[in-house]
Symmetry: C2
Subunit: 498 residues, 2 copies
């Protein structure tokens, strides 16, 4: 028993020690739940993808704007709906004003349009790239801080501009090398015409139907029926209240959102057949036809933009066409871009409406999908050369060598560490670990002879890792190594990197 | 009297009406105090400068890392000193954890080093670009959200790395075309040796002296004397408590921080003569000599990096060399970059120290200084072509034309607006307003003949602005305009833009 007691006690003691040390000195280094640190490989890949997307945005005539991360609370509250209100990260300024971190880039854009009517005279199209914050439940690939790449066009109610937004979505995918992609396109006016025809005029009820319909892909048609009717109980046992529609109306809605066809025109015809006649229906269908024509004029293939009557989109501010990008080869990531027309949002800030349409790329989700599809550019580092010193070479010689290479535009790292980490093996391991392709090696002999060794580290990497002895290592490691005159250094390195 | 009363009443009523409308409907569009919206011209200029700086960072072997905007409060608290603690923007997660917006990019880097010891094995150097937040008093050019561009090198205590940091600071300025710049360089160890020699051993007191000395440029030597002694009353009447040093010690400190000379070596000699002998002094002076040699090896001229015994730097975490970039031609902007060695910061998170050094660019201040110096790239837009339609041309023809140009990589905007804004004059004014250089004009005649007009808007811009009549406008405005076959469109535009 004494042994067991000791065991218990010593366990407790080591626990206490840890706690004390943590309290007295160490702060545990940790990332906030729902947030992410991005290591070089990830940042390099993200920047390559981001640059490609930014180029497409610019090609469509969008210009960059930036707004701060924090907005007055009243600017944001109520724009995205109740869910979004709850998900705001709120804080206070030193003057005790209530403010919050932005949850998207669209609402700040609407604010700008109203705030700078002379500088940003409509028509005006802009793009914005940056982090947004939502305090929802973190899940794999779902973060509380995530990056949006956003385009918006203000000042035109023409669906031609909506078509251009859809075309941008497609060209982004083409630019990233994604072989199969489809933008689902619908129009809030079409759904409104249906609900109106079914006698559902109450706005809150209409929004409830939209929210239910939007879940089709997630929960399936049987659950949609229940949620449109009496409601249901979800897997966790929580009750989901229903809209309370009659069985006849439910079947009409279900039939409507199930409409499909071979082409955008065919689907529009089917919608026309299913919609009760009304001025609203006529206008909505005319928009869909014009949108189809505009997409065709822009060269957007039927396979890349499909009319999808079930698409509703979550945010409250949409008023017309809505879009969502899906990737058939990476369905798990859901929608990687989405948007739509929001003709009413600017009127929140201004005494006249400015029609707007746009879309945002969910960049973190897109990166995850591209990774799954094997389309992410792979590079572990931006460094091209490591300067390695052997033996009694003055540190300043490293600096001189690096300065020569940098002068020629070569991205060059020097290696300075504690004495026990200055062996040649440490230095070459460092280059291997971080994926640096070329080492320039300066030893006493080389220095005396006005020479330098240049080593292609992409060759013989595997060999090096098996050798423990330093001298043998150096000899065996000479694969891919040449010794050149100092004057030839830059040319030799540039040829290796070319 | 009745007239006057009426006047007063109607004034009141219109006031009330405005207030009600504001309360019921409109949210006033406004930017938070101390924050900034960046319009296209500014973002385009910033991106050009940022890209140039990033290229220099990469050339010195720094690789990119990103961390979230929000950190656990205990990660940040106490790292930058009392002032910084007070300036944190604090908030809470949905789980009620105390968190805060990061106030710099250095502390998050220290956290990463401790958190990912295998992935970020030292030596390791990284750069980071991003917003940071400090809730201090906003002033012209001083924002509560500002952008830092940060480099840090971990794992080496060699001043060779400090010298590389200083060299990066210089090369950034050279890359931006700044003709005159000087990095002020000092070493906390030198000041420590002085204070130690003067019998000031208490750490809180040492820090107080540092804070006072750091204000030299701002408040002048007489006020420094008072603050080192009994204290003083500032312009606003607030008392500033003094360190309480004896007159003799004050004069020694004042003489020491006034030391200057023709070269880094000469200043080091003068410091050596002024410092009381001690192990600390010997080590500090040896570091300064080695730093000088390293700067010379990197080709950093005496004029571009000067030893400045009065430089202390505000943040608490520095332990060795400190640096600050000054621009003699734009002195009002103060220091536009600054940094130093912080060998103790990682030990906050880890049971062993990792020596680090680095610097950050205060990007907003730098942009202001570059603007003052006339060195900011000027471009109002990234758009190259506006597609203009005249008369009864179907909207889709615009889209088709734009698609052709975009296909060829030309950054092309289409113009869709309300009917009353679709006159050619409106369209060309739009191009002028946003600085779009080329218009491609499609009219009924051109469309019928398979032609298109291409107009260089940089020519005859002034003329156009004076003409009110549309037809006369069109005729007079034909300066710089050619009509070409549709098949020649892309080539013609590309030649104009070349």
């Amino acid at each position: 028993m004494t042994g067991a007691e000791n065991l218990g006690l010593s366990h407790l003691e080591s626990q206490r020690e840890y706690t004390m040390s943590a309290q007295n000195d160490l702060v545990e280094p940790r990332t906030l739940k729902g947030f992410q640190d991005l290591l070089p490989e990830e940042v390099i890949a993200r920047k390559a993808v981001l640059d490609a997307i930014e180029a497409v945005f610019q090609r469509y005539g969008f210009v960059p704007l930036e707004t701060p991360a924090i907005e007055h609370l009243d600017t944001l509250l109520g724009t995205g709906g109740e869910e979004t209100n709850k998900e705001l990260f709120r804080l206070e300024t030193p003057e005790q004003e209530p403010v919050a971190l932005r949850f998207d880039l669209t609402v700040p854009f609407a604010r700008l349009l109203a705030q700078y009517p002379d500088k940003l005279k409509a028509p005006f199209r802009r793009y914005a790239l940056g982090p947004v914050w939502r305090a929802d439940k973190p899940a794999p690939g779902r973060f509380r801080q995530f990056t949006q790449l956003d385009i918006d066009a203000a000042g035109s109610d023409s669906v031609c501009v909506d078509a251009e937004i859809v075309s941008v979505m497609c060209e982004v995918m083409a630019a990233l090398g994604v072989p199969r992609y489809t933008v689902l396109v619908n129009n809030r006016k079409v759904i409104d015409a249906l609900l109106d025809g079914c006698g559902i005029h109450d706005e809150a009820r209409q929004k409830h139907v939209l929210r239910v319909v939007d879940k089709l892909a997630k929960v399936g048609i049987d659950n949609i029926r229940l949620e449109l009717g009496p409601g249901r109980v979800d897997e966790s046992g929580d009750p989901i209240p229903g809209v309370g529609l009659d069985a006849g109306v439910i079947e009409r809605v279900v039939a409507f959102i199930g409409i499909d066809g071979d082409s955008r025109a065919a689907i529009t015809d089917a919608l026309a057949a299913a919609l009760p006649e009304s001025a609203l229906a006529t206008a909505a269908l005319a928009e869909m036809r014009e949108l189809d024509e505009a997409l065709t004029a822009l060269g957007v293939a039927e396979a890349n933009a499909r009319f999808a009557p079930s698409l509703a989109r979550g945010l409250d501010y949409y008023t017309g066409p809505v879009f969502e990008m899906t990737l058939p080869d990476a369905p798990a990531f859901g929608s990687v871009m989405g948007g739509g027309r929001y003709d009413g949002l600017v009127a929140r800030f201004l005494d006249r409406p400015i029609p707007c349409t746009g879309m945002a790329v969910g960049f973190d989700r897109l990166m995850a999908a591209l990774f799954e599809l094997g389309l992410v550019p792979q590079a572990k580092t931006t460094v091209q050369v490591l300067v390695v010193t052997v033996g009694k070479v003055a540190k300043h010689e490293s600096l001189r060598l690096a300065a020569e290479l940098r002068q020629a535009g070569v991205r060059t790292e020097t290696y300075f560490a504690s004495k026990k980490k200055m062996a040649m093996k440490n230095q070459l391991s460092h280059a291997d670990r971080y994926g640096i392709p070329v080492a320039v090696i300066l030893g006493e002999d080389e220095l005396a002879n006005g020479q330098v060794a240049v080593k292609d580290l992409r060759a013989g990497k595997a060999e090096r890792e098996d050798i423990a002895d330093h001298e043998a290592y150096r000899e065996a490691g000479k694969t891919g190594q040449v010794t050149v005159a100092r004057t030839e250094l830059v040319r030799t390195v540039q040829e290796l990197l070319a």
